[in-house]
């Protein structure tokens, strides 16, 4: 098995899986019918993308594991998602802030992944980028709307951006699998995405009349399996069915 490629794919897919699960939590709990449907649509897109990645990973693994095993039967330390996406839905501004800070990265990442010499990854990226551009429009529109809205909405989105800022730098950290796949022109060199990311985010925050956080302290660890306490609770929900009724199918 190509271990680096396998781990690399999981690194990409876990971000979408965990964020998809977080957005799915809004089902029936969105602040309005339209935003509820939007958040769950985004969740559905992300989970659909995850299937493509995990099906490919299962093929690379070459044993009897399936996409479902990869999604449902790993332990907390085996998930490689960034800390940003596992942060909880404290309020709608937090949900939007988290989505926005991830979408800007996600879009730039997929644009590069389309150029991968791995044809399956390039095809998946080519498919996903169309969907993710809708996500980015949705979340950046809402950041502007909340930032340039009432004093209360502005306060809440500013608080969310300030809180989540500490998780942004990790997006640009390279894992062992990253470095190995970049060498083969399969993976994306995320360090090269950083400057454009912060420029795009800052421009939009300014447009939304928000302050750019000046904190220089950044959290990291998710990509190496060291997570915040929130992931365990999320996985309890996500994996409940498979853990309680092993091997059950719809």
């Amino acid at each position: 098995m190509k271990e680096n490629l396998y781990n690399y794919i999981l690194g990409i897919a876990d971000n979408s899986l965990i964020l998809g699960q977080r957005m799915g939590e809004l089902c029936g709990h969105g602040p309005s019918l339209e935003t509820d449907i939007a958040c769950t649509n985004i969740s559905l897109d992300l989970l659909g993308q995850v299937r493509s990645y995990f099906q490919y990973a299962a093929k690379i693994a070459g044993d009897d594991r399936t996409e479902d095993d990869i999604a449902m039967l790993r332990k907390e330390r085996d998930y490689k998602n960034v800390l940003l996406v596992e942060q909880p839905n404290l309020n709608f501004a937090h949900t939007i802030g988290r989505q926005f800070l991830f979408d800007v990265y996600h879009l730039a990442f997929l644009a590069e992944l389309q150029k991968s010499t791995d044809l399956t990854l390039s095809a998946i990226a080519n498919k996903c980028i169309k969907e993710v551009s809708y996500h980015e429009r949705f979340s950046s529109d809402w950041v502007k709307r909340l930032g340039d809205g009432t004093s209360e909405s502005k306060e809440k989105i500013q608080e969310a951006i300030n809180d989540l800022w500490t998780y942004t730098d990790e997006l640009f950290h390279q894992t062992k699998a990253d470095k190995a796949t970049v060498l083969e022109s399969v993976g994306v060199d995320v360090t090269k995405l950083k400057d454009d990311y912060y420029k795009r985010v800052k421009d939009l925050l300014e447009e939304a009349t928000l302050k750019i956080p000046d904190s220089k302290w950044f959290q990291k660890g998710g990509k190496e399996g060291i997570h915040t306490e929130h992931l365990g609770y999320l996985l309890t929900d996500l994996q409940y069915m498979q853990r309680t009724y092993p091997n059950m199918e719809w």
Partner: protein, 165 residues
């Protein structure tokens, strides 16, 4: 093989045309453009379909329905899901677009016009009920992954718009 072209054995077309999207029953999968190839190889029909949206739950059903339709016509089949090239709304045929409109779903505009509507609030989409262009975007995300929600400000009817992809 040029992947943007369809390779479909003419014998199979009438069979495949009977299969429709479970969420848009008026639209055959042929008119939606999701069947990329269907060829009889050593007596087995090999079909390649491509998803509209990654998370579209209809794809599994469509795969099963194709298998059933071919079985009824005494063919064994194998269905493969392919991702490349990515499906685009440009592949919906003129018949498909008409079927969508008649069903109450506004058909996708060209990519540039679509952006103007979804981003800048331009009123270019015709109401499927009264044909007025005085329509307003309610939400970029609608009842299924492929649709946005609109409202007509003349007849006041809400309706779906098939998003450009």
């Amino acid at each position: 093989m040029n992947k943007t072209q369809q390779h479909i054995d003419p014998i199979l077309i009438p069979i495949l045309e009977q299969v429709s999207d479970p969420e848009i029953p008026v639209l055959s999968i042929m008119d939606m453009g999701v069947v990329r190839s269907a060829l009889i190889i050593n007596g087995v029909v090999e079909v390649e379909i491509t998803p509209t949206y990654s998370g579209c739950p209809a794809m599994d059903v469509i795969g099963d329905d194709i298998e059933k339709a071919l079985k009824n016509a005494s063919y064994d089949s194998r269905i493969d899901l392919i991702l490349h090239p990515a499906w685009t709304t440009d592949w919906i045929t003129p018949i498909g677009r008409k079927a969508l409109e008649d069903y109450g779903i506004a058909a996708p505009l060209e990519a540039d016009a679509d952006k103007e509507v979804l981003l800048n609030g331009k009123r270019l989409i015709k109401c499927t009920n009264c044909r007025s262009q005085n329509t307003k975007l309610v939400s970029q995300f609608g009842s299924t992954a492929c649709k946005a929600l609109f409202k007509c400000e003349d007849c006041q009817e809400p309706f779906d718009y098939f998003k450009c992809l």
